[in-house]
Amino acid sequence: MGRKLLLDKAHIEGIRYYDVYRKNGGYAAAEKALKSMSPDLVTEEVKKSGLRGRGGAGFPTGLKWSFLAKPEGVPRYLVCNADESEPGTFKDRYLMEFIPHLLIEGLLISSFALGANRTYIYIRGEYAWIPDILEEAIAEAHKNGWLGKNIQGTGFDLDIYVQRGAGAYICGEETALIESLEGKRGNPRIKPPFPAVKGLWQCPTVVNNVETLAAVVPIINIGGDEYAKYGTGKSTGTKLISACGNLNKPGVYEIDMSISVEEFIYSDEYCGGIPNGKRLKACIPGGSSVPILPANLLLKTAKGEQRMMTYESLNDGGFATGSMMGSGGFIVLDEDQCVVRHTMSLARFYHHESCGQCSPCREGTGWMKKVLLNIENGKGKESDIDLLWDIQRRIEGNTICPLGDAAAWPVAAAIRHFRDEFEWHVRHPEEAVKRNFGLAHYADPLPVAAPAAAV
């Protein structure tokens, strides 16, 4: 069994409520931090833990905290990013629904470390029932002296508020989230200035993902050094993976970042393999924005090594032959799935979610969707594949926020690895609307390139 730090008590009945949570060791970390540690010491522990942002970018959390500007007399804010909207990702929802107090405790410790007295949880609007769960937990915490004025007699004040969004993927981008929290359209801001200097209402602000903030609890409980012993290399601790698509047991899993991708998909402890005896065709291992990989490159790196569920191993080979950990949204496609159609659905998603502020993303995402729809419907041309490549290339890196990149990468990776499937679509349009390309050679073992001989 993999070791767990976040969901270890998720199975306990009633863990959603304060009494059960507290009885099972809850708020011990908060007590430790507030009563025996200084804010800087908490930040130091988080730095030592090597915790990386769990929202998708994987930026070291302790470092992010240390960038927060601390001018005199200006309030600072912590905002919890619960706008989980990346296709394939539903892990934060699980945390908030089942162990809301873990998040509240994480928020309390983090707010204490950052010196924030007012903290917001920005949750996606569609999770309409979860604010009630969170607000109930907040009320319980208040009642028991973990929120409000002079928490546990330490002199620290904190209020946590839940803010619902209203349907916009872009609000997961931290500056768009801040704009939305200010009651505006979710247009990402042009950086700099960064939120750490000018964020919510122009005050220094840290925006962290739900899972990141929850992970602060075990870090304080066991210490940063101990936390860093979990996982592999720079991928310390545990990670929540939300697995979906063609799997026997889709769901949210907490993994110690030391298992292989193959084990994650096929072992009974995790996803339990692919249903109906089908074979694995492709996988998007980190949420829809990260590159899709064919089965052969997913399970083994181009060097022929086993691919592991870590930030580094998933990224091994870069964009040419690797992918990313991203937000941990693990989407599995079996041999019956059509990569062109799947890519089209993602392009449609990004087109729908583009805020429209900057021209490459506003115009480019819709264009890609239309071209892909043509290919999918048997109306594509051979030149469309190169056109798609060119469009994504001109979006990537040229937009205000990472949504442009997120829209470009899935298209780029699909063409990079599945070009023959696209070509089959445009060359055999009549067949393509009736049946799928199938598994083809995508699971065949790849020859491992011999190390370049010295010339």
């Binding site: 909207s85 539903f90 029932w129 209203a166 009651g183 505006k184 449609r348 979610e353």
Partner: protein, 164 residues
């Protein structure tokens, strides 16, 4: 009839505004629009939006800008039961297309339409964060997950029963 929140809802608005520092009541816009949509027939008319603007002391255009940006606000009347079926990648590979087709057939409407009795509206939406429990849809405040044809029948029957 003029658009007007009940006393209880007005208190809720006050409570929402109090979550923000003084002078930042514009932040309450998104939650108050949710409240308005729930209270005034499931959609936001121009009159409703102007009312929200007056409550928050902001210009009406600021409300229109926000209401048209976010996909959860309905700018036209919708049926009593709004089926919002996800059709993004993960749901798609789990069979959402068949579910959408089936709902269309059962309700006799296309995506984006409302049944003649005003009971049901069908919409397709992008990822709702329930990929592991696909196919799924949002119905009001809650998610209906692991949809099958039989489950869709049940849901439609439940809605009909409740409406009567």
């Amino acid at each position: 009839m003029a658009v007007q929140f009940s006393e209880e809802k007005l208190n809720k608005v006050k409570e929402i505004i109090a979550r923000y520092p003084e002078g930042k009541q514009k932040s309450a816009l998104i939650p108050v629009l949710h409240l308005a949509q729930e209270s005034f027939g499931g959609w936001l008319s121009a009159e409703t939006m102007d009312y929200v603007a007056s409550l928050l002391q902001i210009d009406p255009i600021e409300v229109y800008e926000v209401a048209t940006f976010y996909s959860m606000y309905n700018l036209k009347p919708v049926g009593k039961y709004l089926f919002e079926v996800c059709h993004t990648g993960p749901c798609m590979v789990s069979g959402s297309d068949n579910i959408i087709e089936y709902i269309k057939e059962r309700l006799g409407i296309n995506v984006g339409e409302t049944t003649a009795d005003g009971l049901f509206t069908l919409k397709t939406v992008e990822c709702l964060g329930a990929c592991g429990y696909a196919p799924m849809m949002q119905l009001g405040k809650f998610y209906k997950e692991h949809l099958t044809k039989a489950r869709v029948d049940e849901i439609i029957a439940e809605c009909r029963a409740k409406a009567n």
